[in-house]
Amino acid sequence: MELKYSSEETAFRDEVRAFLARELPAHLSSKVKRSQRLGKADIEEWQAILHKKGWLAPTWPKAYGGVEWTAVQRSIFEEECCAAGAPRVLPFGLNMLGPVLMKFGTDEQKAHYLPRILDGTDWWCQGYSEPGAGSDLASLKTRAVRDGDHYVVNGQKTWTTLGQYANRMFCLVRTSSEGKPQAGISFLLIDMASRGIDMRPIITLDGEHEVNEVFFNDVRVPVANLVGEENEGWTCAKFLLTHERTNIAGVGFSLEAFDHLRHIANAQKKRGRPLSEDPQFAARMARIEIDLEAMRTTNLRVMQAATSGAAPGFESSMLKIKGTEIRQAITDLTRRALGPYALPFASEALDAGHNQPPIGPDFANPVASEYFNNRKLSIFGGSNEIQKNIIARMMLGL
């Protein structure tokens, strides 16, 4: 046991900091720090910078252009990026599809798609959930019927995050209704420019367009775009879900959000003293900080164990649950810190370039909206209830 960073690790942190100070464009970090909207170009710009440095794919093998950092390095990188206000790196290609292709893809698929993920040619989106298949994913109904060298796809996907920017989708489709629901699922790669695809925005409770529904009407997909065997897509899906949970704890986000909360609680006054000194508020802050510091260590323990071969199971579900609970607790407390200033909300102030003076303190505008938006954290990516079911099944063996 050694909780101190080694000199190599400290040097790595310095290197990351220097890189961020030099290469992270101010117009991007400014948007992130002020919770303003990031567009497609913003995200692509940052990913290109990381790609140029060779740091875009921390978890990929070097052979595929990855970095092969240790767990501690990855956590340092994540913390520093969050602290600096770097845009988040999209997980769809890098953390979800990439590992699936490396494990189940043909040599042609790997050679074609993996470089395009790194160089930004492809923006992938995820075609998993359907209106009738959320937590119960295996009940999905979107059908793919073989027709010569093609599959013909019909059905509907939903909650497709940032699908409006994507040119490709990895998609679970039903190729058979024999046997258990899981048995007849296949994993397909779909060109979003294909005829018969219709994408419609879903506006979330905070008025934002982040997710979409996607309709498939006789969409023809080459059989070459099948990953793994036909009807064996569930294996890919499960594998993907495990890897999606890299960084599922969101420790970096939470540390940065807690810092922001501390800033706000010091600035806000209650009876003339900083709110951070109010006994009730201080207790709420302390409770979150204690949970967060413990989870930071839990996360590193799990990541380190996973690196040395232990399969993430109980732990990855736990990190999802605790990680999202803590992130939600932070945005909840940040909302409370505003008092009545949580109410005013100018949606237009979330656009860069908006330069009206704010209503209330300059940090106030996005806070309540983010609190509501973050309710999604415990729903998406396998709801926290599903995660608890997974843990219970493992622990109880029932």
Binding site: G134, S135, L205, L338, G339, S347, R375, S378
Partner: protein, 379 residues
């Protein structure tokens, strides 16, 4: 002791309920909220005509009720419809005028009850953080009246009000209960600047600044310097109203969630068959019943001595905050993705429920206050 409503009050509740149900579906509500001023003047006129504004005022003020239970039943129904019309603003300012005002001043309440004059309470300030006695806005006595200088924050429906009831300090330190004066100020008076903003729950508010605003002596409401007591009473009614509104919104959120649990299927069964969700639903329902009792207690103890009255006010608001967060978050969680969408009604109820916690003291504020008041009651 008796826990049944009078016939008249049941009629009032039924009428409000019918009106909201028939005329205030969620699509109408969104349209109204997005329109100019954030509410509908026609709807306001209808509410006035049916006596729902009058129900908030005592007969001596020209109203038809004005008791705690009148306020509670009306606002519970308003909460079920997420009604955005300025009931709260007019209750707060109107009851403050009724409480502290001269006969002449009270005369304007006829127009308020008739729906033709709009009031708002310009009291809270940016640095107050729920401290009701915090007033930095100053009033200086001049030759023919008073001059007001200062800024008010998040004045509910302050953008559309015709007149503002304004608190200003004429003595004492910034958070002393002594030294607060109240004024009735024309919202278009010279030196009054209003900056409107939408609120995240679909309402409207304004920042209002007073830059050397001159008012006549007859604009003073009650005894100058003794404004805290009537302010506390009026805000107490406002808190009762908000707690009841939140209760109504929570009942709707629970109904929608129960309905969803019965109809939404996962793994081949309605998700309501899952025991973990069942038990969480039960906890939500129990908290709603508890809040319902706390609202009854607050409404029924309005005429008690201050420490008792205000304890029950704080108890209701604390429970509204605690139960509110539980129900807002859990109802979204149990709905899953659909609960996150603008198109669905539920999240709008959740937003209103949570934002009510930010008005006139959140759950922590009222928990601390209840503790202080309890020690006054049991020294």
């Amino acid at each position: 002791m008796d826990f049944t409503h009078t016939h008249d009050r049941r009629m009032l509740a039924d009428m409000a309920s019918r009106l909201v149900r028939e005329k205030y579906d969620i699509a109408t509500r969104h349209k109204i909220a997005a329109g100019p001023g954030g509410f509908s003047r026609e709807m306001w006129a209808q509410f006035a005509e049916l006596g729902l504004i009058g129900a908030l005022f005592e007969e001596k003020s020209g109203g038809f009720g004005g008791q705690g239970f009148d306020i509670a039943v009306v606002f519970e129904e308003l909460g079920r419809g997420l009604v955005v019309e300025p009931f709260l603003a007019n209750l707060l300012a109107g009851r403050l005028i009724a409480e502290a005002g001269s006969e002449q001043q009270c005369a304007m309440l006829e127009e308020v009850i008739g729906g033709t004059l709009l009031l708002a309470l310009a009291h809270g300030e940016g640095a107050a953080f729920y401290d009701l006695a915090h007033v930095a806005t100053r009033a200086q006595k001049g030759d023919e009246g008073w001059v007001l200088n200062g800024e008010k924050a998040v004045v509910l429906n302050g953008d559309s009000a015709d007149r503002l009831v304004v608190s200003a300090r004429i003595g004492g330190d910034v958070s002393d209960e002594e030294g607060i004066a109240l004024f009735i100020v024309d919202a278009t008076a010279k030196g009054v600047r209003r900056r409107a903003t939408q609120t995240v729950d679909g309402g409207r508010a304004a920042e209002v600044s007073f830059g050397g605003v001159k008012v006549d002596s007859d604009a003073v409401l009650g005894e100058p310097g003794a404004g805290f007591a009537p302010l506390e009473r009026a805000v107490g009614l406002g808190i009762l109203a908000l707690s009841a509104e939140s209760l109504g919104a929570m009942r709707m959120a629970c109904d929608m969630t129960l309905d969803y649990l019965k109809t939404r299927k996962q793994f081949g069964v309605p998700i309501g068959a899952f025991q973990a969700l069942q038990h969480r639903m039960v906890e939500m329902l129990m908290e709603v019943e508890q809040l319902s009792s706390a609202v009854i207690n607050a409404a029924g103890h309005l005429d008690d001595p201050r420490a008792v009255r205000e304890w029950h006010i704080s108890a209701a608001k604390n429970l509204a905050g605690r139960a509110g967060r539980l129900i807002a978050e859990e109802s979204i969680q149990m709905h899953g993705g659909i609960g996150m969408t603008w198109e669905y009604a539920l999240p709008h109820f959740a937003k209103r429920i949570v934002m009510i916690d930010h008005l006139f003291g959140d759950e922590d504020h009222h928990l601390e206050r209840a503790g202080l008041l309890a020690r006054m009651r049991h020294p």
